[in-house]
């Protein structure tokens, strides 16, 4: 994919989400599905961005750029779920259903025991599935268990801290369809890198709002930005956002399980710091329902715990890093962010390493 294509895709996404998200958030808060935003999103083909070029997409990096824009504008539709669902359908050779998709993708360790994705077991309760009330529910299971198109028998509506739909889904009866997936495809890790990209976008917005506010608000006869303590908070927010962005970009350039894990861990860790400092900069006004800041800080607090929080991914990475002893650490770190770009829909952190 050329840089120009990537830039165009990101610009398209940014234009769309920036124009439509505020109204869509209001609609969602009143219980309505943001139909208009969804329609334009679907028509522009942005959900296919993460597909490889030969499948009509522009690659994972382009997909993550769309998600970054979605996070930046807090777009209240299942962008990540539909995009990763589309990617998984492609990898499974399944036709992509129309309309929004969502994905039940538990962590790798929990997969083997997951009944919903096994054809021989026909009843399961799947907690907190994003947007299940409106979306086709897909599920990925343990390696070999494939990609399942589920038939929910009941959906109990719920939400995350930011008010985004997270529904409990009851399944009775076998999946509609079950497609084999290549064993290295890890749906959970793909959702993790997708959330990391959204977190990155949200952090950018929080930084921008904090900079603006620190320039406007006057105390002691000076704008807040003249106070060194505030300057240093802003510098720290920028640093955390930059570290998140660098990790996501590196994982997009060399897509592998190590990078996905590191990027989500770093993003989740940064989210708390960024939200805390942004609220400190904003004072009481930022603590109101009226001020916009909370649309993003609540997403930071919600998303950092979805798809594996930092502690989860630290354990995955730590267990991986510890194999092979101290001498293997450096080569492993270099290989993980190796510049060889392989088109892949994700990989697990394997004991051999990360080159793919």
């Amino acid at each position: 994919m050329s840089d120009e294509t990537a830039r165009l895709i990101e610009q398209t996404a940014d234009d769309l989400f920036s124009a439509e998200s505020e109204g869509a958030r209001k609609a969602l808060a009143e219980g309505a599905w943001p139909e208009r935003l969804w329609q334009i999103f679907a028509e522009t083909g942005l959900a296919q961005a993460a597909l490889p070029e030969e499948a009509g997409g522009a690659g994972l990096a382009a997909g993550l750029a769309v998600l970054r824009a979605a996070g930046r504008h807090a777009a209240p539709i299942p962008v990540a779920e539909t995009m990763i669902g589309t990617l998984l359908c492609h990898r499974a050779g399944a036709e992509v259903p129309d309309g929004p998709l969502t994905l039940y993708a538990p962590p790798a360790g929990a997969l083997a025991a997951q009944p919903a994705v096994r054809e021989d077991i026909d009843a399961a309760n799947l907690p907190r599935v994003p947007w299940a009330r409106i979306a086709t529910v897909l599920a990925v299971g343990a390696p070999g268990h494939g990609l399942a198109f589920l038939k929910p028998s009941d959906v109990v509506e719920g939400a995350n801290l930011a008010g985004e739909p997270r529904d409990d889904v009851a399944v009775s009866g076998p999946p509609d369809r079950l497609h084999p997936l290549p064993p290295e495809v890890d749906g959970f890790a793909l959702m993790a890198i997708a959330r990391a990209a959204q977190l990155r976008g949200a952090m950018e917005q929080v930084l921008a709002m904090s900079l603006r506010y620190a320039g406007d608000r006057v105390q002691f006869g000076r704008p807040l930005k003249r106070f060194q303590a505030i300057q240093h908070y802003l510098a720290e927010i920028a640093g955390e956002a930059a570290a998140t962005g660098a990790a996501v970009d590196a994982a997009a350039q060399a897509p592998n399980g190590f990078g996905f894990a590191a990027a989500k861990a770093r993003a989740s860790q940064a989210a708390g710091t960024v939200a805390r400092l942004a609220h400190q900069v904003h004072g009481a006004i930022g603590y109101t329902a009226e001020h916009d800041l909370h649309h993003w800080t609540k997403r930071l607090w919600a998303w950092r715990d979805e798809c594996g929080n930092e502690a989860y991914w630290w354990q995955v990475l730590g267990a991986h890093a510890a194999q092979g002893g101290g001498a293997a650490l450096w080569p492993k770190m270099v290989a993980a962010s190796g510049s060889a770009v392989a088109e892949t829909a994700g990989a697990t952190v394997s004991s051999e390493g990360e080159g793919r």
Binding site: Q228, Q231, D249, G318, A322, A327, L329, M333
Partner: protein, 386 residues
């Protein structure tokens, strides 16, 4: 969009082979010379190692061949440098000359300065000290008071530099001096000079640091006469020059790797199946390092394009030095090991000694090359709030 991006650079072809070559060289060098691995660039001084490295073509890598350089890219240099640090090789002797003094002379120095000095740096036999700080000028570098006055046949220098690392074992210092009025910006009237520490009668007084080592010095200039051709670049251009020099000083992987040998020791001590809390601690460092290395590489990519990414480098150094401290703290907490220092025990196992050296070294990591508070102010300026 607001904030800073660190796009991953495309590595030049042949990088993997170069990396493998450096690793093979280091394995052999370690086996033959027996240096104790320490990833802090300032840990061990070895003129013989520096000369060997020069012979390999790994000093002055990016400089023109006519000055003894090798015309490699900044990214190739990055690969060599990070491999040297990760392996804990004794790189201190040539470090400053290779990183900042040589590039400064290449950019601003006279043809004669370049021809006489750069080839010797690239050979690993010419070393440099940084003459910026003074007793009353630390973070506020523009306030330096060391004066250089024109004389009939050159310059006369009066003043005192302090914390001058390696002045006692380097051939040259590049000193920032006042040559005229500071002006409203405070940045006017500064100039840089090349001072021959072996010949110019500078009085060098050792300062022992808290770890008991003699690394830095006080350098006193009393009526030191130097020839006219020792001015570097233009008179009055010192601030612009020194700012570029500082960007180089802050931009490299040595600002994230100083305690990497302890990170490896932690992983080694943890064994192949660490319990979840230890795995979590290691994973935390792993994720942070993954992000930092990506940022540090991106800075090298910007240097390669000819940019001087001052703000990005400040971000990496601020976060990187905090990470370096976190590595030592994590090791301390995770593995029951008591750090030992000078006089602790002659028989101290290497892990105890390495941790001891880091505990005593850490306070300097967030000071040397510009304090983290100053770095954050640079970042704030980059954000437009200063």
């Amino acid at each position: 969009m607001t904030g800073f991006d660190f796009p991953p650079p495309a590595m030049p072809p042949g990088t993997d082979a170069l990396r493998a070559e450096v690793r093979a060289f280091l394995t052999e060098s370690h086996a033959n010379e027996g240096w104790r691995p320490d990833s802090d660039f300032g840990s061990d001084w070895s003129a013989s190692f520096s000369r060997t490295l020069g012979a390999q073509g790994w000093i002055g890598m990016c400089w023109p061949r006519r000055y003894g350089g090798h015309e490699r890219s900044a990214l190739e240099r990055y690969v060599v440098v990070e491999e040297l640090l990760a392996a804990g090789a004794p790189v201190y002797a040539h470090w400053v000359a290779d990183r900042q003094s040589g590039p400064l002379l290449l950019r601003f120095g006279s043809e004669e300065q370049r021809q006489t000095i750069l080839p010797r740096i690239a050979a690993g036999e010419c070393y440099f000290a940084i003459g910026m700080s003074e007793p009353d000028s630390g973070s506020d570098l523009a306030s330096v008071r060391t004066r250089a006055e024109r004389t009939a046949d050159g310059w006369r220098i009066d003043g005192t530099k302090v914390w001058t690392s390696n002045a006692h074992r380097s051939q040259y210092m590049i000193a920032l001096c006042r040559t005229g009025p500071a002006g409203d910006s405070r940045h006017e009237g500064l100039s840089q000079f090349l001072i021959d520490l072996e010949a110019d009668n500078v009085q060098i007084n050792p300062i022992v640091n808290l770890a008991g080592k003699h690394d830095f010095n006080e350098c006193v200039f009393e009526d030191v006469a130097i020839p006219a051709d020792r001015l570097i670049g233009q008179e009055g251009d010192g601030w612009r020059q020194v700012t570029g020099e500082l960007a180089l000083e802050r931009s490299g992987p040595e600002r994230i790797l100083s305690t990497f040998h302890l990170f490896a020791a932690l992983v080694e001590a943890a064994g192949p199946g660490p319990e979840p809390r230890l795995a979590e601690a290691i994973g935390r460092l792993t994720a942070e390092f993954y992000a930092l290395r990506a940022m540090s590489l991106a800075v090298a990519g910007q240097l390669e394009k000819g940019d001087l990414p001052e703000v990005e480098a400040a971000i990496v150094k601020d976060m990187g030095t905090r990470f370096e401290a976190e590595v030592a703290e994590t090791l301390r907490r995770a593995v029951p090991v008591e750090p030992v220092g000078v006089g602790g025990s002659a028989n101290a196992p290497s892990l105890e000694a390495a941790l001891g050296a880091s505990v005593l070294g850490l306070p300097s990591f967030t000071l040397r090359g510009g304090t983290n508070e100053v770095l954050r102010s640079i970042i704030a300026r980059g954000l437009g709030v200063r």
